[in-house]
Symmetry: C2
Subunit: 335 residues, 2 copies
């Protein structure tokens, strides 16, 4: 492949469901949830095979990016409007700076296992993007009918990739089982494309006003003209040439506290802890702290999180409901 | 009554069941669990009708007593051996310093309601102690068949007091109901006696070697010669002349975290909080913190405590089991 391979790491989100570790001024990607380094730092390290690395983030987080990704070039998005506008904008900027290339768009706050499959899979996707001019999604082989993930449905088999038949939103349990039965894959939120391919696809999407404003050199007006929307539904699903590359690496979006069960080692009673915990007749709990010592006695299947001057307790199975806590705190201006 | 009335506040305990608020270097009596002031400070203020106030504590806590009780005289017990040796020793010291008097022995870590009944009841007990030479216990009118308290059984009615028939250890639920049916009272752990009366009774008890050593001016040897034992069973129950004065004030020993339910106001979902808490679909919980903000979502009937760099979560009904956590932490030298 002649084109340079550019990693574009998206680091503008907040990850509110990981409150109180994630806060308005400390988004999820800055947290060391797996190992000693932040998720962002690990993502950038994982992408080190790329010729260049860019990190796209919001103004408020920009000054901290070098702490996590000292070698990366920072792109500041004019406004936080989900992944669609951010990726169209950042890919446009990369095209201006680097010229023709293949962009590999990577979330900054997911967990990927350490096996070698990641780089090989990314290189395959980049080659497909360069050779076919398609927008390429990556579909992770599911290990369970997860209702917290989106799915991608592969279409015709093209050898090292599939046509993209459809994106599927987070399903209920029955639908998730059917998706897996029919060969759907987890949508990893990772994409590969050339700047030109994304530009053409975005022109046929609700993001067209942004593309036109970028052409006119006025990104602020472009962001004002579009809604907050994910790239999956705004662009990928409408694209005439979209592909799926299957991925076999271990992957988790660490979307809520119960996810720690899947990435940390459990004790004999199936408790997992990020930080120090003491369990007495307590089983199946998830503990996370910034160094505080957490004792559990006689409780099962809870998520207990202590960070800074905040504590959260919820049933592990209802970890998604942290959203409700954050909503209440935001109303008080205390998130 | 000619004899001076001396309040003797016992402040040598640790209150381990209130971990993590109570720690090896911060006993329960130093904590502001009700209102803004420590339990010790409130106890001393409550005893301000006495002519003098002494606080008996262990060496490790002695330097902090003036922060809570600036006007009190501090007595340091040679060793921590429960209330029996401490009260015999401190009463002996008071006899040396003050001369003949009535000593009112008060725990420093209990809650007493603000009504005026406390002083009147204490004065009655002191008068009985002075006039009859009895050792006087105080029995609180029970409001429920509590299994966490000891009971005192009144004997013959003597007008303003009863003979003491027996002390009863913490009962099971059925026994507690029977105690209440038969007129038993909660043992408040408060006593009144003259120095001479306690000396005589202690000479007929397992604490006799301590009395003899005190007479010989050698308290250290006296403490080495006796076991750790409560004054209730070592002295009071064996005494020939022991009395009970009934008490009608609100009283709680704040023995474990579930006790906060009884002394704090609840929200609409029956949650109580010492410190800031946010409850979303959570009911019947007890929260306590040193200023940390605690969020609960979807959990019921838990005790959640956050103090310093420690967090504890247990079912409210199993709050006694904090002992098990403390035992494990002590083994690690981390209590």
């Amino acid at each position: 492949m002649d084109r340079p391979l550019v990693a574009l790491v998206l680091a503008g989100g907040t990850g509110t469901r990981l409150y109180p570790a994630s806060r308005s001024d400390r988004p999820k990607q800055f947290l060391p949830l797996v190992g000693d380094r932040s998720l962002l730092s690990r993502t950038v390290a994982r992408a080190s095979f790329a010729d260049e690395v860019f990190v796209c983030t919001r103004e408020a987080f920009a000054s901290e990016i070098p702490d996590h990704a000292p070698e990366a070039t920072v792109i500041v998005e004019p406004d936080g409007k989900d992944t669609g506008p951010a990726l169209v904008y950042a890919t446009h900027r990369i095209g201006e700076v680097v010229g023709d290339c293949v962009v590999l768009a990577l979330p900054s706050d997911h967990h990927v296992g350490d096996g070698g499959a990641f780089e090989a899979t990314m290189r395959t996707g980049a080659r497909v993007a360069a050779e076919t001019g398609s927008l390429v999604a990556f579909g992770v082989e599911p290990t369970r009918p997860d209702t917290g993930y989106g799915y991608v449905e592969p279409g015709a088999d093209r050898g090292d990739h599939f046509d993209l038949a459809a994106f599927r939103e987070k399903p209920d349990a029955e639908t998730a089982a059917r998706y897996i039965e029919s060969g759907c894959l987890w949508n990893a939120g990772i994409f590969a494309w050339t700047p030109d391919a994304l530009r053409r696809a975005a022109l046929g999407s609700p993001l067209a006003p942004l593309v036109e404003a970028l052409d006119a050199g006025d990104p602020e007006t472009g962001f004002e003209a579009v809604e907050a929307v994910s790239v999956d539904y705004a662009v990928m699903e409408r694209a005439e040439d979209a592909a799926v590359v299957p991925a076999a690496f271990e992957w988790d979006d660490l979307g809520s506290w119960d996810a720690l069960e899947r990435v940390l080692d459990a004790d004999a009673a199936d408790n997992v802890a990020l930080g120090e915990a003491l369990s007495v007749d307590a089983a199946g709990n998830v503990v996370a702290s910034d160094g505080k010592h957490v004792s559990l006695v006689g409780v099962d299947d809870l998520a207990v999180v202590a960070w800074d001057d905040r504590v959260l307790v919820a049933p592990k199975a209802e970890a998604q409901r942290v959203r409700e806590v954050v909503a209440a705190l935001k109303e008080e201006g205390r998130f």
